[in-house]
Amino acid sequence: MIITISRQLGSGGRSASRIIAEHYGINVYDKKLIELAAQESGLHRQFFEQADEKVSRSFRSFLFGSRSASGHGTATGAGSPLSGDALFKVQSDVIRDIAQREPSCIILGRCADYILRDVPGLISIFITADLDDRVRRYAKHDKISDAEAQSLIEKGDARRASYYNYYTQRKWGDAAHYDLCINSSRLGIEGTAEQIIRFVDSLSAAQERNS
């Protein structure tokens, strides 16, 4: 059973996934994906870190495209291996690999729900929280002011959404594409994790009845 958890910044998605993972005794893949991608490709991890869950829409981003102005592009279609698109391809291959090797695991973000959309039995979850809770949690974790935290959260979520929307042609947070959307402010992080576990267990039970 492969669970992908997409989350708003500061919603406690990471903490919740750790609880769920411990409960089932499975792995959580978060920043570890960067390490694996670096290993897989031979490229230094800093490039993957820089490109993690963000796609820059600014002036500098297009400069990575090796498309020449006349529209010729590259005859080989090779382009730069350091471009966001190339790095994403590597990371997505890593995610697919993981899904094949490990029958059960949790993957956080990185468009995993889209990348693994054809995997049977995939469970996709989206965790949100009220803005106040998120600001408080973020500010406490990073030891900054509430105002700073709020602006970072808004920017971070926007970045994450751009990243997701660019690479998946879906809309980040669109309930239609997730099996379960849950607001962690209502039951707290432990409570949310419990509910998710219940949901997953029900799904497994339903699957067994049908098979």
Partner: protein
């Protein structure tokens, strides 16, 4: 990108072999388009006359602008399709294809309508004179009427390339070039259809249409993973916005390059005459042949330098840089030799008019002074892009085409005697300054590498 994201041979295979493997296809494609560039002008210059040749000059920036907007769709769509195909998301890829199709048509139509409405003032602004306006207009009207086909043709080529069919894209390009070479004399010359400069435009459009038909046959083949079919043509705001936001940058880069040509045309007309304007278009095309060789080399270098930089194999990075600079310098020195020692022969390809020949020879010699050095500048600029230092890349590219040229262009003729020479000399002067900046930036980067290697 389909297939493996990062071919690891980039880190292990011999550098010279890699460069050959990645650069040669690009170079071949580039040579095809250089020939394409030359053919129309050569036939028009010989078939009609020097004034027609000068009449073509203001149409080039206009066609470039049109190409820039077309590329906006083509580059944006092909980038997105490439990403989707990498995720085996064929449904989305086809949607993007459909949207690109519609967008190309829309952009083509709008551009054609707007430009046709203001054609004369635009051409005059771009460097046409009363002597050359009729030629420019006649050519451009027909080009614009076929604009939609041109956009579709280039757009599909970009998409074919990113969809894993670079060979088919190359074949389409070669087909267009060959057809144009055949049709041009047939349409232009008195012994053929005798359509004059109009014939050249029609031949160009017709060749593109034939290629377009071939492309569409490929893209409507149900067995292709990516094919046109009903239902994909509905424009989706998200896709349109994404395509445009990716494509806007190559579009702007192209527009910047056009602006320079417009400035130069106007300056040449101001301090010289129509012959100077026509001469420059010839000189530009000849030097472009060699520039495209370097561009092809650069495209081959990109993945190699980028990968090895990412893998911290700085020794290999320096190696591929050196090798590329070497070959680029060879290419540009070849250009230097042609321009300095054989300018008359190069000019004779385009015209036999004595006054035009004299002007071409003079300008070509001056223009090529710094050629042997400029190859390395181009490589260095592209190198910075490959190793993910985009600001330096953009700075070097702009400094070669734009930053120094414009001020020199405006300033030199004010004190140079004769003033027209001032216009010609501004080009190698700008080349020289941009080379120096390139070498400085490179020296700093190499020092960096040495430090990293020693760590």
């Amino acid at each position: 990108m389909t297939g493996k994201a990062v071919p690891t041979e980039l880190g292990t295979e011999k550098i010279s072999k890699l460069l050959a493997k990645y650069a040669i296809p690009s170079i071949v494609a580039m040579i095809a388009s250089s020939i394409y560039n030359i053919v129309d002008s050569a036939y028009i210059g010989h078939g009609i006359g020097p004034m027609a040749l000068s009449g073509l000059a203001p149409t080039f920036p206009l066609m470039n602008i049109s190409a820039a907007f077309g590329a906006m769709v083509g580059v944006g769509a092909s980038t997105m399709i490439s990403v989707r195909l990498g995720q085996k998301d064929y449904r989305s890829a086809q949607q993007i294809l459909g949207n690109a199709f519609v967008m190309n048509i829309l952009v083509g139509v709008v551009l054609a309508v707007v430009t046709l409405s203001f054609l004369d003032p635009i051409l005059l602004f771009f460097g046409a004179s009363e002597n050359t306006l009729s030629y420019a207009r006649e050519y451009m009207v027909w080009i614009l009427l076929g604009n939609v086909f041109t956009h579709l043709y280039f757009g599909f080529n970009a998409i074919l390339r990113s969809a894993g069919h670079p060979d088919k894209a190359m074949k389409a390009t070669i087909l267009t070039v060959v057809l144009n070479c055949i049709l041009d004399p047939l349409f232009i010359f008195p012994w053929g259809l005798n359509m004059g400069i109009r014939g050249a435009a029609i031949a160009t459009i017709l060749s593109q249409c034939v290629s377009l038909t071939w492309q569409m046959r490929i893209l409507t083949n149900k067995n292709e993973l990516l094919h046109l079919h009903r239902g994909i043509y509905r424009l989706e705001g998200r896709i349109v916005r994404e395509i445009l936001s990716i494509g806007i940058s190559p579009c702007l880069m192209n527009l910047a390059a056009c602006t320079v040509v417009i400035f130069i045309n106007r300056a040449l007309l101001n301090y010289g005459d129509d012959y100077a304007v026509g001469a420059f278009s010839v000189i530009h095309k000849v030097s472009f042949v060699f520039v495209t060789l370097v561009m092809g080399l650069n495209q081959g270098m990109q993945p190699i330098a980028g990968y090895n930089y990412g893998a911290e194999r700085y020794d290999r990075v320096i190696k591929v840089l050196k090798l590329t600079i070497l070959w680029a310098t060879v290419a540009m020195t070849l250009g230097f030799a042609v321009c300095e020692f054989l300018p008359r022969y190069a000019a004779l390809v385009f015209t036999t008019d004595e006054q035009m020949l004299k002007e071409i020879v003079r300008g070509m010699r001056i223009n090529a002074y710094i050629f042997p050095l400029i190859g390395s500048q181009m490589v260095i600029g592209n190198f910075f892009q490959a190793i993910a230092k985009p600001w330096k890349a953009i700075f070097l590219s702009l400094s070669r085409q734009f930053l120094f040229l414009i001020p020199f262009l405006l300033w030199f003729p004010t004190f140079w005697k004769p003033a027209l020479d001032g216009v010609w000399f501004s080009m190698p002067a700008s080349d020289l300054v941009s080379c120096i900046t390139g070498f400085i930036l490179l020296a700093v980067q190499l020092k960096n590498f040495r430090k990293l290697i020693n760590q």
